[in-house]
Symmetry: C2
Subunit: 323 residues, 2 copies
């Protein structure tokens, strides 16, 4: 609950977002209701909806518009997780069984589609066509980022630039949109809209880099997923890309893992050990901090307020988190 | 090209819809561009966008609004086909290889998501929040219908009422929305909006029933898919449901097929033969005609026009089609 108190002035109003999220499972068709119950009940920190509300505090903080917007962002996020899990053939997420492990792939694809549509319906309740278009374009970027992750699996020729592009699409863009959307519906002036969008985007970059570091350093039980999962799936993240950059030879343990046809479990252990032995985790953390600094800088011109301080505090929280 | 001339007064304007549909493949990311090219190039009759334009002729026929609406409906439709093919593990559609056969499942899920988002972006260009919400709710119904088809596979206890509910969701709702959306953005009075929606919905019901009949009677080469495909996948459609209703005993060849653990190919042939021997195909056709009559009745109060006559003509075309 430490995270929840981080949301400062919008903490209380998050209950209204939660009420919409709980209501989503109220559909007539039983099998769908059960699936929705499973995936919406999985919880999570609700960072994205909190960002939408926080970004909405700088002008007209109208909950009639901000609450459906915030809920739509979380539903969109959860829908992408459902489809990601189908793609990754993931068995658990946040320590709970995934939809596709419980319900098989086919219904999970439809469940995700239903949720995308529901998210679109929620964002349309803002009545703000600019925000609706922003929302649609964000999903286009996210799908492209996820597609690239799949297409590039086990491709050791990828560069750090490709990685930043990909996490920009699959993660940071939605955090940017949460903030930008909140700013737009509250009628914030254009420079603030841009500042809040850049804040959210850079926070998202830091968030994803830390997530990718935790994939190597995290506690399996706390994280609810096995260590080294990205490499196992053939996904290069910042630590492994830095290791490849330092030693592009065929002896690089990541390259050996990606080229291997057998004995992968042992090679995976070698690669994880090499990443811990090098300085790449520290350098990754430094890069995350850089994005955190950019996030803080992006809102430097916005008026001081409890929400402003909360946004700055969230940067530290993202950088310091250990699960 | 017989079909195309059916679109009467909007025939010419369909080129503008087609231009948007061709432009969708123009994305930066190469693998996505190739996938979009494949699925958007597959053609099809473009019935849905034509309906949107036709429904828009009764008041302010504004192509700035109607063309993006029409294109969005077709993109939404194509996106659902991409996901359906993932679910059905279909190898061909309209005689061409499906996306998931060419690109494997994971990218096809993301491709469909990208297309949903693109469809949302297109419909948002109408600037009409009512139409955007209608669009979102339609996708919710479609996903529920598809989910039900998957969940009920090989369940011989399903009734004709369930079937009508399902095809209402997965097919008819989008044709209804195409007409309703066109009517709304053109500023048609409320009774006309309702009439056009009911026309589209009932036309869609007739269309799907005929499609399900053709699954038993069609020419494999013309249809581009094998005969009896629905039963093979465990999907009960009107002809097989009527056969089950006539003889609910365990000897019913459809029930025998669904209960069998082996020898399914032979049992499938038996079931197809039984459906041809009974009167269930004729009775299905009669039911399709009934929906066609309802479609005509729904627009009886609308002013006579070339578009009106085209809509009536389309009913006959849907009922008479043989592929």
């Amino acid at each position: 609950m430490v995270v929840q108190s981080l949301y400062g002035p919008v903490q209380q109003d998050m209950a209204r977002v939660e009420a919409i999220l709980s209501g989503i499972r109220d559909v007539e068709y039983g099998p769908l209701a059960r699936m929705l119950s499973q995936v919406m009940g999985a919880g999570g920190k609700r960072v994205r909806p909190a960002l939408a509300l926080l970004a909405g505090t700088f002008r007209d903080y109208d909950l009639e518009l901000l609450v459906p917007l915030a809920a739509s962002i979380e539903v969109l996020h959860t829908a992408t997780l459902v489809h990601d899990d189908v793609i990754d053939v993931a068995a658990t997420r946040r320590g709970r069984a995934t939809a596709n492990a419980l319900f098989s792939n086919a219904p999970s694809v439809m469940l995700g589609d239903f949720m995308f549509a529901h998210a679109a319906e929620l964002v349309a309740r803002t009545g703000n066509v600019r925000v609706i278009r922003l929302f649609a374009r964000t999903l286009m970027r996210m799908a492209t980022g996820e597609l690239d992750q799949d297409v590039s699996a086990f491709d050791a020729s990828k560069r750090i630039g490709d990685y930043l592009q990909r996490i920009g699409g699959k993660t940071a863009s939605l955090l940017g949109t949460a903030c930008e959307g909140g700013a737009i519906v509250s009628g914030a002036p254009e420079p603030w809209v841009e500042g809040l969008r850049d804040y959210g985007f850079n926070l998202g970059m830091a968030f994803q880099i830390v997530d990718d570091i935790l994939d190597f350093t995290g506690n399996e039980e706390v994280m609810g997923k096995p260590v080294g999962g990205d490499l196992r799936e053939g996904t290069l993240t910042l630590p492994s890309l830095l290791l490849l950059e330092d030693d592009p030879s065929r002896r690089n343990p990541v390259r050996r893992l990606f080229n291997a046809r057998r004995g992968r479990e042992r090679l995976l252990e070698d690669a994880i050990a090499a990443i811990h032995a090098a300085d790449v985790l520290d350098r990754s953390k430094a890069m995350a901090r850089e994005f955190g600094d950019r996030a803080a800088h992006a809102i430097a011109e916005l008026p001081d307020s409890e929400a402003h301080r909360t946004l700055l505090h969230l940067i530290d929280h993202v950088l310091d988190r250990e699960s």
